[in-house]
Symmetry: C2
Subunit: 440 residues, 2 copies
């Protein structure tokens, strides 16, 4: 039987050049999370299915989760998102933790999606969450982090917009302005969430069908007012009366004070998950080539208490690797990324033992060193080094070993230096210092 070399549908092989892009994105995720005082945690890939059944939303659980019975008959799911898991972890140690808890993770997730641009069945996400802060300062911090993350990739304020809304305001609008009951509200929220993905006529028809028959015409007019509102001031007074509006106004004032320039109010923003309770936000790419939501977050104060304990307030956000990469490519923000290998030793003649000793010494000094152990002719070794993109070649024959002076060639410039061991190390370290992505 011949096996296919293709990866499983909707998943991706990350060859070294792809993994370098991942590592670049992850390094920014680590750095910005740590800058804000968030500590990394890790979590299981598998969870009991009921962890998601309560609050993730029916689409996620019924249509997108890989679920199965294990060999002991337990219903298990491969995690489709992190929020229920991290809520479970906080609940499990709620009495020992120091609040506010600030945690982040970088992890892989699986959803059963129809593969398309920016949507894969396996994807990587940063999750950053703060627990135990009831005030709007938590939202301020999380949105500042999202903004700092975009800036850390070199994005300028024109390249993205942070749309902000409030579930409380949405609920108020659904009940008080549109006159919908709870079930109708749920349907309308899901419909708004799909608004940009369906035709305007389809949105109208489906919206009309949600209203009671005699209210549909008036209801559609009201929806027209909402959808047409360009700013908060355009909203009808019945909505502006909501206390949620004041909270949003405070949030925008604070974000301005913190130098967040890309934030904007958008009453049609919903977010798919059922667990959000208050402020929600999404970061959108403004490029016409990639006009999509990059990631989002919000407040989900009720989720921790599903695990049988008192409520613990929570605000978080979760950018994805693929959407981030698409954003960086669209805006030309992805830098050239070098292999981690710094020097390739080309072995001239029958001196593998001496070359191995040199490789070992370089490694002891912290130089990432690849040694050609094939015994091939030098020109084939050189071809391999160039194909791999290693920045330096080091030529080692009997003469070099005897004289302890080695020829170091920088591939990009073809410049050659003849150096003793000590200067070899510093020459390569200088290069690393110039080109290395900072990771701390």
């Amino acid at each position: 039987m011949q096996l296919s070399t293709q990866p499983y549908k909707g998943t991706q092989d990350y060859y070294p050049e792809d993994q370098r892009v991942q590592n670049y994105i992850f390094s920014k995720w680590h750095a910005v999370s740590r800058r804000f005082g968030y500590e990394e945690y890790g979590a299981p890939l598998l969870e009991p299915l009921e962890v998601y059944a309560a609050k993730s939303g029916q689409e996620i659980v019924n249509e997108q989760t890989y679920q199965f019975a294990d060999r002991g008959g337990r219903q298990v799911a491969i995690r489709p998102e992190m929020t229920p898991t991290v809520s479970r972890m906080v609940a499990g140690r709620r009495q020992e933790l120091a609040y506010p808890v600030r945690w982040y993770s970088i992890a892989n997730f699986i959803r059963y999606e129809r593969p398309q641009r920016g949507r894969e069945r396996e994807f990587w996400q940063l999750n950053a969450d703060i627990f135990g802060v009831p005030t709007i300062d938590a939202e301020v911090e999380i949105i500042c982090m999202a903004d700092a993350l975009m800036r850390s990739f070199g994005a300028t304020e024109k390249m993205y917009v942070i749309k902000i809304n409030s579930r409380k305001l949405v609920n108020y609008m659904m009940a008080e302005y549109l006159g919908l009951d709870l079930i109708q509200s749920q349907l309308m929220i899901k419909l708004f969430d799909r608004k940009d993905k369906i035709a305007p006529a389809e949105f109208r028809d489906q919206a009309a069908a949600i209203f009671d028959a005699d209210e549909a015409s008036a209801g559609l007019k009201k929806i027209g007012v909402i959808v047409g509102a360009k700013s908060m001031g355009d909203l009808p007074p019945e909505i502006l009366e909501s206390s949620a509006i004041k909270e949003i106004q405070v949030l925008f004032t604070l974000l301005r004070e913190h130098g967040v320039k890309s934030a904007t109010f958008d009453i049609s923003l919903m977010r798919g998950f059922d667990y959000y309770t208050d402020i929600v936000f999404e970061v959108f790419d403004t490029s016409p080539e990639n006009p999509r939501a990059l990631f989002g977050g919000g407040r989900y104060d009720g989720l921790v208490s599903l695990f049988g304990v008192e409520p613990i307030q929570a605000v978080g956000f979760a950018p994805g690797g693929t959407t981030t990469k698409d954003f960086l490519v669209t805006h030309g923000l992805l830098p050239n990324l070098n292999p981690s290998t710094e020097v390739y030793i080309v072995v001239l003649g029958d001196v593998l033992k001496g070359a191995q000793k040199l490789a070992s010494n370089l490694r002891d000094e912290g130089v990432n060193t690849e040694l050609d152990i094939t015994g091939r002719k030098p020109d084939r070794q050189i071809k391999t080094a160039i194909k791999k993109g290693v920045p330096y070649m080091l030529f080692v024959g009997q003469k070099e070993i005897d004289e302890e002076v080695f020829t170091l060639k920088e591939v990009a410039t073809s410049q050659e230096q003849h150096l003793p061991f000590s200067r070899l190390v510093s020459a390569i370290k200088d290069y690393r210092h110039k080109t290395k992505e900072v990771f701390d």
Copy 2:
């Protein structure tokens, strides 16, 4: 409904203090792999089931793999190991790659195991593999890496032993010395693999049952000779005639030349996977408290060609996170690991805005800064900082903001310094420089 806070059976929540241990182990895995010129890749969590069916071994596939039909009816497995996947990836780009290919990955895996010490259903592994080298130099490099990895954790030669054997030698022994046919050989190899886990009498009985009835008595005697051999010289001449013996002797000579002191020959070492074709090795903890195999590896020249292409030689190894951690704990090699957060800002009075500005400036300078945004009394903020283990506290009130001089307190020593912003940054960076795990 009240949900449990327990993770799924056999999986682990990595709270920040656990994740720091993971990160410490991963940082060594990254560093040593890169030192040897290996480039990181990433791979899908899910694979078509048939990828494992061919060569991973029946126990893995039938008893230990989480497998299911996806919503499109495809038979899928959560990866229980990386070797088949990386072989698939090499096969998929076999014509474009520069050989020898040197790759590594750090990834999570799932096996259906009965949870016990060092064995979890979800576990993390480094996989490092070299492709395209037919000579013993590939084994030398991989075993040197395994040894360098142990040394990078501070292990000394007495703490571990690298047991080395050859599948070719085993096959020769089974056929030529014990007179077994292919099926009997397979059974005997599996039995040897379990030898240390079962009682001697049980091993004897099961071994006897594998032989043809009239050969059992003579066969058991021969097995006694093999098992009793303390070194290669104790083996019977019929086995020493095998060409595989010469290869092993060359390997040991080269390993000695490379300074590997912990290597030893062990003819009873088998390794569980069916895909190994030649040299195999396992690293064992020598401590009586943790007398287990830590990890292993070997040559698997036939696996890439299952994906419909010419054979590409391969040698690799795969240490696990949990066994590594157990080893480090057993030998007292795990260092104190600090949180990534470096400074906790305690806000004195109604100056959150000014404190936020300071936090933002510190972050811009690369300092990992947690800001207390709760408005609590200072003593409660201080308690939180101490509980989190953050090494520095920074006290910020109106006076500090006005005078631009801040009080920095090192928690461990209770030492206080009054510093302007610029010296604040350098004081904290000095600390980081002293304590940080090097990751490059």
